[in-house]
């Protein structure tokens, strides 16, 4: 921070009677009262801090009756007031953030404070030093250049992205037109398991299901049990993510609850230990009707 001038030297006792306001004034031993700026060369549009400081012998919570100078040449920002008690009195400060409006030389006049001087018990007006500032022009050229460069950058980037997308699309179309086509292969015929789907079973489903059940009856193995289970799930319109509990919960069997009983029975044969597959499959057979 650059001090505008030594604050202590600027304690000015004007000894000006304030008269009528005297009764509202505090009695203070004012040891210093000054004003400073954190820069003497601020720029238009660039904030800087103006600080008014005072030291009094008394313990006070805040400094009253301070009149700020004319600051119409600036836009005012934040204002922070602080009083700190010390062993030798109180240090008070008020910091104002100011933003210069125009370039040129500006002198901020003194701030004043009215208080009763304990030495003569009379109202006095104390004044700080003034602060002279040399306000520089706004860095418009730089700001303008930045905006220009920014616009240039984004426009270039947009054009580049557009061209890239165009190249990708053209390349893809070229690839589709020129790639060798693979010969069509007939899908392999899978006898079992029957695919599970939510669609309604086809008309010849019953004969297929009976064939699966007969195959299970002839040879009760786990793969055949699983095939019957898949067919039953298909008949119930089960989605591939649905478990038996889901089907029961949503009453998938509707008015044919024996289908759930059949699914329960064949589920046992499908997931039980190897030694019990045959037994469980044979137990399930009586339920396996559509």
């Amino acid at each position: 921070m650059v001090r505008a001038c030594a604050a202590i030297a600027c304690v000015t006792l004007l000894a000006t009677p304030v008269g009528a306001a005297a009764q509202a004034l505090d009695t203070l031993h004012v040891r210093s009262f000054g004003m400073s700026s954190d820069t003497l060369r601020p720029q238009v549009g660039q904030p800087f801090r103006l600080t008014i400081t005072a030291h009094v012998d008394e313990q006070i919570a805040q400094l009253d009756n301070v009149t700020l100078p004319d600051l119409s040449a600036f836009d005012s920002g934040a204002d922070e007031r602080r009083c700190t008690a010390t062993s030798r009195g109180t240090d008070c400060s008020e910091t104002i953030v100011l933003v210069p409006k125009a370039a040129g030389t500006v002198t901020i006049a003194s701030a004043t404070m009215a208080a009763i001087d304990p030495s003569d018990k009379k109202p006095s007006l104390y004044a700080t030093n003034s602060v002279r500032l040399q306000i520089g022009a706004a860095p418009f050229a730089i700001a303008g250049a930045t905006d220009y460069l920014s616009d240039l950058f984004w426009n270039t980037l947009r054009a580049f992205v557009f061209l890239l997308a165009l190249v990708v699309v053209l390349w893809y179309l070229l690839y589709r037109l020129t790639r060798p086509r693979a010969p069509k292969v007939a899908a392999p015929v899978v006898a079992a398991p029957v695919p599970v789907a939510a669609a309604a079973p086809p008309s010849d489903f019953e004969s297929q299901f009976r064939a699966l059940v007969e195959a299970l009856r002839a040879e009760p193995t786990r793969p055949r049990a699983l095939a019957v289970r898949h067919a039953l799930r298909y008949a119930l319109g089960a989605h591939e993510q649905e478990t038996l509990a889901d089907l029961v919960r949503r009453n998938a069997a509707g008015d044919r609850p024996q289908r759930i009983a059949a699914l329960r029975a064949i589920e046992r044969a499908s997931f039980c230990e190897d030694a019990y597959v045959e037994h469980n499959a044979r137990e399930a057979l009586p339920f396996l009707t559509l």
């Binding site: 478990t243 038996l244 230990e273």
Partner: protein, 300 residues
């Protein structure tokens, strides 16, 4: 067993079932829910029902590892150190509000959970068998808590969410307790029974297709997901199958079915998935994310 627990704890049927499954599966559980929902009571009732020694440790920020595992004390008369075993030497240990203790205390407990033994000074002491840790966490007061890292949460077989009872259940609580301390359940089983159940559960058959389903369920959590940073570990797959076996056994079966695996999935996954910041910023229900992942895996 469930009826015995239900005689003490009103409602919370899902919680009691999950506790029983985890006990049979031989894993530790963490219960999460607001205060006053009978989390502690359920754990105590379980210990009483199986006739095991029960110890409760209230986790606080100033708790030390020696407060849990035990310590060595110098005996001036004999001039030797004697070992005092901590409260962890019980069949059912309730770590109440586990997230209120600092990491070193959580680590000491979780090491014991994993190794099933504790080293105090030069001696290693085996923990009682069966040994079950039930930990509780309160999701509401996060001030002054130490969240358990995922690596430590992974040691828990499952996480059970405890929700508020229905109005009917709350009326039943009023009628049953009325300000008195709840009566503990009858001792319906013994530690030997529990050991036998665990052996039976381990023997429950899991068909190859079902094992593949469990692997696929856990694997689905590792695929790129907008709300997940990291999926579950293979330990989750082991937990899933172990819990499916326990469910099958409780249901009176010697083999597991797809429903056993899928019903176990949320409890196994919810504390093992690393949800990213978007679940918080977009106020996404993590249970919904898990349900969506589980529902996306085809049933065998």
């Amino acid at each position: 067993m469930l009826e015995a627990l239900a005689a003490t704890v009103v409602g919370q049927r899902d919680v009691l079932e999950a506790l029983l499954y985890a006990t049979i599966a031989g894993g530790h559980v963490v219960l999460e829910g607001p205060p006053g929902l009978a989390k502690t009571l359920a754990c105590r009732a379980l210990a009483v029902a199986v006739g095991g020694a029960f110890k409760r440790v209230q986790f606080t920020p100033d708790l030390l590892p020696s407060d849990i595992v035990g310590t060595r004390i110098f005996d001036q008369r004999s001039g030797e150190f004697t070992t005092t075993l901590g409260p962890i030497f019980a069949n059912v240990v309730l770590a109440d509000e586990i997230n209120r203790a600092p990491a070193k205390v959580q680590s000491s407990l979780l090491e014991a959970m994993q190794e099933r033994q504790v080293t105090i000074g030069p001696q290693t002491h085996a923990l009682p068998d069966p040994f079950l840790v039930t930990a509780t966490m309160n999701p509401l007061d996060s001030d002054g808590t130490y969240a358990l890292p995922l690596a430590q949460l992974d040691r828990f077989l499952m996480k059970i969410l405890v929700d508020y009872p229905s109005p009917e259940e709350e009326l039943a609580i009023l009628g049953r307790f009325g300000g008195e301390a709840p009566a503990m359940p009858a001792n319906v089983a013994s530690m030997d029974d529990l050991v036998r159940w665990r052996a039976q559960a381990r023997a429950v058959h899991v068909e190859a297709k079902l094992a593949a389903y469990a692997v696929a369920l856990v694997g689905a959590t590792r695929r790129a997901h907008p709300y997940l940073d990291r999926g579950a570990s293979p330990r989750a797959t082991l937990a899933l199958v172990a819990l499916a076996r326990a469910r099958a056994l409780v249901d009176g079966r010697t083999f597991a079915v797809p429903d056993d695996v899928r019903a176990s999935a949320p409890g196994v996954l919810r504390h093992r998935l690393a949800f990213n910041y978007r679940t918080i910023t977009e106020n996404v229900d993590s249970e919904g994310v898990i349900a969506e992942i589980v529902a996306g895996v085809p049933v065998p």
